[in-house]
Symmetry: C2
Subunit: 765 residues, 2 copies
């Protein structure tokens, strides 16, 4: 846990030079716009600890898998989002000296991420080893208005130096991934040109052949006007630079603007990739930094208008939730259904920028509520697009007849993960993908999606489950052997309650969906059953399985058992676990973790959260009270589910405690790993804890419903939600709850189990 | 399955050039002497497929572990026996041409491994691309009389070539392991000298700093006498050569002898390593090839005198069992308690030449019976020497108070394996190590070993088990969670019957051993309890556990359950598994294997084999009949156990079928993997199937006992066994059984449950 950042409602501020936390700050102060993003590396050369990172969404490299002992079915590669063109680079050369903050004496340092405007600012005043006293000030952003554009304003001011100054501004594709399994470079040279007319590099990824273009234009103002300076150009492998030299005097100021366009063959055809890029970088310079910034800030303003959560009188909480919302939108804007939400977004290399079940289980509701439904729909389309690969993946593992197993980790639909206990066994992800379809339709009412896309995915998933179970002669029930549930601190268990439950639910939901389509969309039904080669006898098989599915329970304790044999464990409360042994994933050997009763993240409770309407409150309470004390919450995805359930159970303090565990996870570097990147997907969990937890938002029979329970630590929280084209704002305060209908027609809303019609003018209840 | 080798009672013969099988032959025709060994690579240059391999026992490199995702407790390195000095190299240079059989037209080819004499012979007649017709003939051996000495006789005969001939004879430490995880070279240069006075290379292993010396001397005879030839010397990095040039004419013959001494700092101190080596290689040349060969053959003759098994009228079986005995003695001779038996011996790199539980579970009885008891004792001492490391290993996993977990794979006592399901969970290996002590004492009567060494190991193992179980409130029994049994096609199971059984047995045996020592060696007892810090309350804990240990059983079926939940599986017989899906470890994904009922190797049956005197025959039969049909025998260690039990159950055909599955495993390349090296440790299983199976040899109350059941396919089988200093021969034939007492005093022997006193002159019964 760290506490070096200034608390502010809208800004993240580092007001002193914390070299020891530089890599953490690089993660936290990252900027992005869904298409591209980058860590908060310095523009100028820096020899201190840094993880360079510039990323382009969807541009990946299939890095050869590294494994100790190979097992059949392992993927050949792990797709990694690439460290792409370093486009921010601006070196500062003085006479016989290059500026490097790591070697300078820092007099003042200030780094700010303005979340409202999406702008990263950095100011530094320093004295170089040769005694040159200078200031630099940079501002940069990845434009939300035009997601291929990045712009930097870079000022150098002399405090005491009179002499030569050169800025070397460059584009560099000759970069490595620090997580490359075999230290390979992933980029191949294509072309690079640096001249008065054009500056660009085109590079190609090895194997995947993504062609990416980085082009730049720029301008320089010296002392507010024109002054003598000289341009010189250079290039190297996958590299171009412009060398701008002149003189600076005490109190003199150079203001350099760099306008970059980053694009790829994912969005441009081969012929137009370069001309488009050059046109756009030139146009950006013509527009100028201020105008570009204005459009960018406007775009952010539109996002905040619907996505913001306002927490009054608690700056830390306000900053935390805004940071989470901000990073989620920097990572994924929903424009491109081929993109998804990497667990680290554009803030680091870890997890390869790939897609996990986090998207469906945690992130989808955030996008459903905070923006247009098309965004959440694109997240579903992403999986629909990858259905064939999911079927192939299942076939590799021995399944057949159109059964699909979605990968645990993927970039393009192919499995990337290679730990057998996860790759092959953590199959509940299939359930979350089906659940997301249900969740989307429940929220949006978009039944057409089911017909046009959803049902194909649902059937393929149901087929998987129906083949994955087997009938136990001993139990006279269907069982599911050899799985890993959401709690990854158990591997290869039998009858994980959560997995059995969601599998059953998937088969039922697929059957219901087919019945609905058959009844209401008979033409589509014929098309679909022919398309997916569906035989109605499959329905009988599914219903036989769901009727005879085995669920481990303990009747005495009145709980669902996490898995067969769970009660054979030595049951100890986490409170009896010495702090020195935590986190157990760092302190304990794996076998000890597996044998222990300690739970990494919500497992049975994840099921009760997803399907809370199927269980009575006492049921939920008994399970919560049994499992929560055994849970170490060593996944950032755990506390939010507990917070939501605790709110539901009126355990307000527990709910708030659990909320706090993730709300400032990265800002306070709670898990000591923010230097690898921020926990993007778990940020949605924090949002869930407020909106689905404290505000109790849900949809009941096509009606939006709230059951607000404001934590006693807060005075007022408000947020908007986009529900089927209407915008509703909920203000929960100590003094009561207030609903504002921000749309132009009335809406029926349930508040604390009572139905109200809210007119376009806000009413207080 | 391949069938390209000529069947012969004493020789392995390849009488045609099978380039496609060259790497298999390289494994099969390997030679070794316990200290060093090598694959049957050609002396001259060869550009065809080959796996170069020269190994020195105990000289290993801690290769940095390769792993996909790291888990706490994983070892930092995997110790690998190194590909060491290539000392056999002799290049043949003709005018403007180098001999390379891969590029030549082969007219005749003959390779022979004479197992009686331990000599590898190769003859080839060929025509080079330039039309030179030549023959070569080489003989070589690694001396059993002096295990640092290797010698080669290499003849080159011209059939039509008149011109320049040069032999380049070299020592080359600049070699790689083909299984190096990061393509590193493991050897560092030390010194190399090549001159008329001395030729040697000294190299050092990186990290482990083993210093190894290879020195050579040599002689050349041209056309039976002296003829003009010139010596020239060269060296390079870790490399020396002598270049001998002259002329050869049609029908002319060069006979070159190479005498090499390979030694290491394991057996010599730094000062004497080089002088000793030089002295010995010179002495070898002085003695000459014939004399060295004679001593070598004598040494083999002594081994065969006690270790041979004679099978009459079945050449394939005779060749098979002799090959197995031969390879076991090439791998381990028992002189050095710091060495052990790598699963591939000196025939390949796979499994790193490390020690597995195979030694105790399979190999120990072979050495117990076929040679002096000191050899088996050295195998026990090996583990005793490594006890401290086993305790450290257990500590890493969270155990304490002197509990030991022996590693799954080791070179020096430290764990090398890094698959959590094996490293941390396949803990039954601890049981086999304790069982070996019991087995040794039962056979030899050497109770003193228990006092001097054994009990320390037994107590440390018992302590481990007592900490590894936990009390299940649900079952009101002790349970053992999260293990992998001998059947590695199940991972992380609860209450593996075999593991629970052997754990209980270990605690009981440790307690009995302590009681015995307390009673009979009270002074030792005081020393021991002080040494190991033993508290008698531990005995109570052990007895509580063994009294309340949980064993999964199915009363209806009358079987012990392999593990909790086994009967939830879809139970299918292997006979219903299509041949196209076998072996499942190649055809199926890992999760499918885990979920299936198919068993890799004896598991419950391994327990019934070890502890057969504790179970009645009907018990064994029920379990055999239940589990054998589910067993795919995809471990080479499986069929022998089944063969022994089948013999016991009078299932003679099954016993023979199981015997055949391993007896020629490598000779017929049954598993398509002999090119990686031979299955050395499983060879002991074949021996067990004959001696403990067909001959029914056991020890009952300190008396040797036989219950012979000769397979009907055989007419006569005989072997000797060394029992407590006396040599007994059993001849089982269709006409009856015959015991010869080859010692000089009478001995009591049980034959088919009847006790006889066999006088030093053979008696027929």
């Amino acid at each position: 846990m760290k506490d070096y950042l200034v608390k502010d409602n809208w800004k993240i501020i580092e007001d002193q030079y914390h070299i020891e936390f530089n890599q953490i700050s690089e993660s936290i102060f990252s900027i992005g716009n869904g298409h591209m993003g980058q860590r908060a590396n310095f523009e100028e050369s820096f020899t201190g600890k840094t993880l360079q990172g510039n990323y382009i969404g969807g541009v990946y490299y299939p890095d050869k898998t590294r494994v100790g002992w190979w097992k059949n079915g392992y993927p050949e590669y792990f797709a990694k989002v690439l460290n792409a063109c370093d486009w921010i680079g601006i070196r500062i050369l003085l006479d016989q000296e290059e500026v490097d903050l790591h070697k300078a004496e820092i007099k003042k340092f200030y780094r700010e991420l303005d979340m409202k405007r999406g702008v990263l600012t950095r100011k530094a005043e320093f004295i170089t080893p040769k005694g040159r006293h200078l200031s630099i000030e940079s501002q940069r952003f990845c434009s939300m208005a035009d997601d291929e554009i990045g712009a930097i304003e870079y000022k150098v001011t002399s405090r005491n130096y009179n002499g030569g100054l050169a800025l070397v501004s460059y584009l560099d594709f000759d970069v490595k991934n620090s997580d490359a399994n075999y230290d390979e470079k992933f980029w191949e040279e294509d072309q690079q040109v640096a001249s008065d007319e054009a500056m660009y590099v085109i590079a190609k990824t090895r194997k995947t052949n993504f062609q990416c273009a980085a082009s730049m234009d720029h301008s320089l103002t010296i002392n507010g006007g024109k002054s003598d300076h000289y341009f010189d150009y250079g290039n190297g492998e996958k590299y171009v630079e412009v060398f701008i030299s002149g003189e600076i005097v005490t109190d003199g100021e150079w203001v350099y603007h760099k306008f970059v366009n980053i694009s790829s063959s994912r969005n441009h055809n081969a012929e137009s990739l370069l001309p488009d890029a050059l046109t756009k970088s030139k146009a950006a310079r013509s527009a100028g930094f201020e105008l570009l910034l204005e459009s960018h800030v406007d775009a952010w303003s539109k996002i905040w208008n619907t996505a913001d959560i306002v927490i009054k009188d608690d700056v830390a909480a306000q900053q935390g939730i805004r940071f989470n919302i901000f990073q989620l939108y920097q990572t994924y804007t929903g424009k491109d259904s081929r993109l998804n939400i990497g667990p680290k977004g554009f803030t680091g290399e870890k997890y390869g920028g790939s897609t996990y079940w986090d998207t469906e289980a945690y992130c989808l509701p955030f996008y459903l509520s905070t923006t247009d439904a098309s965004v959440a729909r694109n997240l579903l389309i992403y999986r629909h697009n990858q259905l064939d690969r999911a079927i192939e993946n299942a076939e590799k593992l021995g399944f057949s007849d159109g059964a699909a197993l979605y990968p645990m980790v993927t970039m393009n639909g192919e499995e990337c993960h290679n730990e057998w206990e996860i790759t092959f066994e953590e199959i509940h992800r299939n359930g979350a993908i089906a659940y997301a379809i249900y969740d989307y339709i429940k929220y949006t009412g978009d039944q057409d999606y089911l017909v046009s896309h959803g049902v194909e995915v649902l059937v393929a998933i149901a087929r998987f489950w129906s083949q994955r179970v087997n009938f136990s002669e001993a139990k006279q029930k269907y069982v599911m052997l050899g799985v890993t549930g959401p709690n990854e601190y158990e591997n290869n268990v039998n009858n994980n309650w959560y997995t059995n439950y969601i599998a059953t639910w998937c088969m039922d939901y697929a059957a219901e969906s087919l019945a609905y389509i058959k009844k209401s969309h008979s033409a589509d039904y014929s098309r679909i059953i022919s398309l997916i080669n569906f035989n109605e006898s499959e329905l009988e098989k599914w219903s036989d399985i769901t009727a005879k599915m085995y669920f481990p329970v303990d009747k005495n304790k009145g709980i669902y058992l996490q898995q067969d044999g769970f009660l054979d464990k030595d049951i100890i409360s986490v409170t009896d676990l010495p702090q020195s042994e935590r986190p157990i994933h760092q302190k304990w050997s794996w076998d000890r973790i597996l044998r222990s009763c300690f739970i990494k993240q919500a497992d049975v409770l994840q099921g009760l959260y997803f399907f809370e309407d199927k269980f009575d409150l006492e049921d939920i309470r008994r399970n919560y009270e049994y499992y929560e004390p055994l849970t170490v919450h060593e996944s950032s995805l755990s506390p939010c589910v507990h917070s939501i359930l605790a709110t539901k159970l009126n355990m307000k303090d527990k709910a708030y405690e659990m909320y706090l565990q993730t709300s400032r996870l990265d800002l306070d570097d709670y898990n000591n790993d923010t230097e690898d990147g921020c926990h993007i997907t778990s940020m949605a969990g924090t949002w869930l804890a407020i909106v689905r937890g404290f505000a109790g938002m849900s949809v009941e029979n096509d009606t939006l419903s709230f059951s607000p329970k404001l934590p006693k630590q807060w005075t007022e929280v408000s947020f908007k939600t986009n529900f089927r084209g209407q915008m509703i704002e909920l203000v929960m305060s100590k003094d009561g709850n207030h609903l504002n209908n921000l749309s132009d027609s009335s809406i029926k809303v349930i508040l604390n189990n009572k139905e109200f019609v809210v007119e376009p003018i806000g009413v207080t209840i």
